[in-house]
């Protein structure tokens, strides 16, 4: 139900009841006032009429008595004197209709004498003798009664047929003459006129008027009540007989000598009516007016007829006003409805006028507008944050690209070493981009390097830091630095310009494929697990250094171990050990060792997969909070003996020399010294010197243009079993293979003069590798393994 309908439904009945009550009350009051007024007025009028009639009757009585007195005082009674008296009286009293002096026939000399004067039509005096035998006045009551009791009498009203159908009443008074009753003097009063006056009076009030004689005869114009002027039967008798309570009530009322004003039902018309009566004392009659109530209360009805339309109009106006007010409430609601439609369409920029309507509506409009603005602001915020997220996402994509480019993709990474080692790297980022990486490196001298690292932070900065750390480690490793030196230098360089305060924990393993010797350095990284070929596992705990990039001048210590054939080194990041199960328990070292021990041996990828499967099974549905990185390194081949007592670590001499031939003698000395140090006999040492000399000479003479002040790098790595020499230049690379095959060892006098040097190198060394354009330049690696029969003992003999 609408507000408007509800408002109208409640208020209109209330107003109608209020108005109705007011009207009713006012009508009651008015009615009372009117009735009181009418009461007083009618009473007064009725009394006045009664008085007037009283006077008339009284004067008529006096006239009759005067006539009687005059006759009594006459000396002699003559017809002339009697006539004269009558005529005189008549003319002096215009209210009298007729008059007679009728004598008892045998008492006076006048004998049977009854002169009668009355007013004819037109007002002329008319004489009539009542002594007409046909009439015989002596028989009439009006004559006999006064004579009988010597007092005056009013007759009941009667229709005078003699004088011409006039309703009249007569006062008859005895005439005394000289002590004797000699006759009767009468005065006739025509009631017709009286009744007419009464009728007019009553008619003005819509009622009917009538009189009731003492005997109960009714006089009036009302045919209904009276009949023809005067009723023949006594009303008292009629009422007596009747069973009509109203008729009885009316009779009772009329007999009451007191004046009355009564509200009752008209016994004739049956309408609610008002009855007023008053006593005419002189004659003992009662004058009554009976008028219909509604007619009497006509003014009241008129009032009602005026007031009700006005009330209706007022109520109508109020309804219209209510409608307007309810509209003023509901129309703004429609505006708000429209506004919510706007909002639901996504149009939050629409604004409602805040200066229209009542205060509440204005405030609501303001509130709506603020809501719209707040939503707009919110949308703007969401857009902004979405844009930020997008930027962040793109940053992450870049970082992910960097990371993808960093992680090794080729397995196996060192195909030429497949019979010496098997390595596999597994990486699973926690989110889009992680902070972990791993790396595989070829090192000067034939060793390989493995890196597992965890960069603090996420996103692009961390990725760049990671890339930087990786390149630094690669560069240092490529220069042949020892693991500790690599960590020290990388830390030093990473610390510089590290405004973001990033750092990286790192485990670096240098692995010698031939011997299984492994040198480890940890920069705050998780200790690796060594899984022996038989399934036993142990934690390897290199001295944990400080993460790279944290503190300048940090030192790192190398830990050395030897992998026996079938042994596996498991390197990982804390994402493996820190992952939690539903009970928030860490995976931990013990489980990692168990998983590594239970994993199938002999295959690096299978080993990694088994450990990852154990981690995944442990974590179940739990989210992976950090990257998971795992590198498994298995030593392959080699004799078990090689895994015996750990060998001496490789000693490296590394120098950068000017690319001038003047250094050659010194190089030769150093190489020979290193070779001897490595346990080679003199002749072997000299052959090695030759090979290195050839390579270095080649670099000095051909790598650079003439007159340049360039340098090259010489690295001599000596260990128990081999000498590893690398010569790195930074000049033009060349086709080493082709150059080294120009001479095949069959000398002829006609042969070309070039190519001999490289032939010698290949003849002398066990391994010769040329890597042009490495990060460090063009690198020649020469390896000479010490043979078992090159025992120092024989060496002494030969010396």
């Amino acid at each position: 139900m609408s507000i408007k309908a509800r408002l109208l439904l409640v208020l209109i009945p209330a107003i109608l009841i209020l108005f109705g009550a007011l009207l009713l009350l006012s009508f009651r009051q008015s009615e009372h006032t009117v009735l009181t007024q009418i009461n007083r007025e009618s009473y007064e009028l009725a009394r006045a009429h009664a008085r007037e009639f009283d006077i008339l009757f009284e004067s008529s009585r006096q006239v009759a008595e005067g006539i009687a007195t005059s006759v009594g005082s006459m000396e002699t009674l003559t017809p002339e004197s009697v006539d004269l008296l009558l005529q005189g009286t008549f003319s002096r009293n215009p209210g009298i209709y007729g008059s007679t002096i009728s004598f008892v026939p045998d008492k006076t000399p006048l004998g049977r004498y009854a002169p009668y004067y009355c007013r004819a039509a037109g007002g002329d005096l008319k004489f009539q003798s009542l002594a007409d035998p046909a009439y015989d006045y002596t028989r009439w009551d009006w004559f006999r009664q006064p004579l009988a009791d010597g007092r005056g009498h009013w007759t009941e009203p009667y229709l005078d047929t003699g004088g011409g159908d006039i309703l009249m009443t007569t006062y008859a008074y005895p005439v005394w003459h000289k002590g004797e009753l000699v006759g009767v003097a009468t005065v006739d009063i025509a009631l017709t006129e009286l009744v007419d006056r009464l009728e007019r009076f009553a008619g003005r009030r819509g009622g009917q008027a009538f009189m009731v004689t003492e005997a109960g005869r009714l006089i009036g114009r009302s045919r209904q009540i009276v009949g023809l002027l005067v009723s023949q039967e006594s009303f008292w008798d009629i009422a007596e007989r009747s069973s009509d309570p109203h008729l009885k009530e009316l009779a009772l009322l009329l007999r009451d000598p007191e004046p009355n004003f009564v509200d009752m039902t008209d016994p004739y018309t049956r309408r609610p009516s008002l009855v007023i009566d008053a006593r005419i004392e002189s004659i003992g009659w009662t004058l009554a007016i009976i008028a219909p109530r509604d007619v009497v209360l006509q003014p009241l009805i008129q009032l009602r007829n005026t007031v009700i339309p006005i009330a209706v109009i007022i109520v109508g106006l109020i309804v219209v006003l209510l409608l307007a007010v309810s509209d003023s409430v509901t129309k703004p609601l429609a505006r708000f409805l429209g506004q919510t439609d706007n909002y639901s369409r996504g149009d939050f920029a629409e604004r409602l006028a805040e200066d229209k309507g009542p205060r509440e509506i204005r405030r609501l409009a303001g509130s709506f507008n603020r809501l719209g603005q707040a939503i707009l602001d919110q949308i703007e915020n969401v857009k902004t944050s979405t844009a930020q997220k997008e930027r962040y996402r793109q940053e992450l994509m870049i970082a992910a690209d960097i990371q993808r480019s960093i992680l090794p993709r080729q397995f196996p990474p060192f195909p030429e070493l497949q019979d010496r080692l098997d390595v596999y790297g597994y990486y699973r980022p926690a989110r889009e981009v992680g902070g972990d990486y791993f790396d595989f490196l070829r090192l000067p001298g034939g060793a390989v390097g493995f890196v597992v690292a965890d960069v603090s932070g996420k996103g692009a900065p961390a990725a760049f830091f990671m890339a930087m750390a990786r390149l630094l480690v690669r560069a240092m490793a490529g220069r042949g630095y020892s693991p500790a030196e690599i960590a020290r230098r990388a830390n030093h360089l990473l610390f510089e310009d590290n405004e973001a305060g990033l750092f990286v924990t790192l485990l670096y393993a240098e692995y010698h494929p031939a011997s299984g010797r492994t040198r480890l350095v940890s920069a705050g990284h998780n200790p690796p697990v060594l899984r022996r070929a038989d399934g036993r596992t142990e934690e390897i705990r290199p001295n944990p250094g400080i993460p790279l990039g944290v503190m300048p001048g940090a030192h790192y210590e190398v830990m050395e171990l030897t992998l026996a054939p079938g042994d596996t080194l498991v390197m990982y990041t804390d994402g493996v050990t820190d992952i939690q199960d539903a009970q928030e328990e860490d995976f931990g070292m013990t489980r990692l060792c168990d998983a590594a021990g239970a994993a199938p041996a002999g295959d690096a990828q299978a080993m990694a997969d088994a450990i990852v499967a154990a981690v995944s099974a442990f974590a179940g549905e739990q989210p992976q909070p950090d990257d998971i990185t795992l590198v498994t390194l298995i030593r392959r081949g080699g004799e078990a003996a090689a895994a015996g007592p750990e060998g001496r670590p490789e000693e490296v001499i590394q120098m950068v020399l000017p690319a001038r031939t003047g250094v050659l003698a010194r190089v030769a000395m150093m190489v020979e010294s290193a070779a001897r140090e490595a346990g080679f006999i003199r002749s072997e040492a000299e052959r090695i010197v030759l090979a290195v000399d050839e390579v270095v000479s080649n670099v000095i003479e051909h790598a650079y243009g003439p007159g340049t002040a360039e340098t090259f790098e010489l690295r001599l790595g000596t260990s128990d079993d081999a000498l590893r020499v690398t010569v790195t230049d930074y000049g033009q690379p060349f086709d080493f293979d082709a150059a080294s095959r120009r001479y095949d060892g069959h000398a002829t006098p006609d042969q070309p003069v070039g190519g001999i040097g490289l032939f010698l190198v290949r003849e002398v060394m066990d391994e010769v590798r040329y890597e042009p354009d490495t990060v460090d330049g063009n690198r020649v690696t020469l390896v000479k393994f010490r043979k078992a029969d090159d025992a120092p003992a024989t060496d002494e003999v030969q010396d």
């Binding site: 031939t661 003047g662 050659l664 003698a665 030769a668 002749s683 000299e686 052959r687 010197v689 030759l690 000399d693 050839e694 000479s697 000095i700 003479e701 060892g745 069959h746 000398a747 002829t748 006098p749 006609d750 042969q751 003069v753 070039g754 001999i756 040097g757 032939f759 010698l760 003849e763 002398v764």
Partner: protein, 108 residues
């Protein structure tokens, strides 16, 4: 590097490098050889007794000398090579194209 030059019996020109023959010193050796060739020497004896070390650059000079005298029916002999030089000569296969003598006395 000094290269001592002498002759025996007017036929043989003896060149004796004094020290290592490597990329650093080979130019002196080569210059001396070319000078003698230019002077008409056809029989060259390379006295290697004072050469503790020689590399392929020295071999190259020996080959140049051999190539130069062969069309003139001349010859090149290597005299008293030290062990290292002996070794390189063997490895390089140059022993097949050069004759080695113990001393210059046998030259004629």
């Amino acid at each position: 590097m000094q290269v001592e030059v002498s002759s025996i019996g007017g036929k043989w020109t003896i060149l004796a490098p004094q020290g290592r023959v490597d990329a650093h010193t080979v130019d002196d050796f080569e210059t001396a050889v070319r000078k003698e060739l230019a002077a008409g020497a056809r029989w060259l004896a390379m006295d290697l007794a004072s050469v503790p070390y020689m590399n392929s650059a020295g071999l190259r000079v020996l080959l140049i000398a051999l190539k130069a005298v062969r069309p003139l029916d001349g010859g090149v002999v290597l005299v008293r090579p030290q062990p290292q030089v002996q070794e390189i000569l063997e490895i390089s296969g140059f022993m097949n194209i050069f004759s080695v003598v113990a001393d210059t006395d046998g030259l004629s």
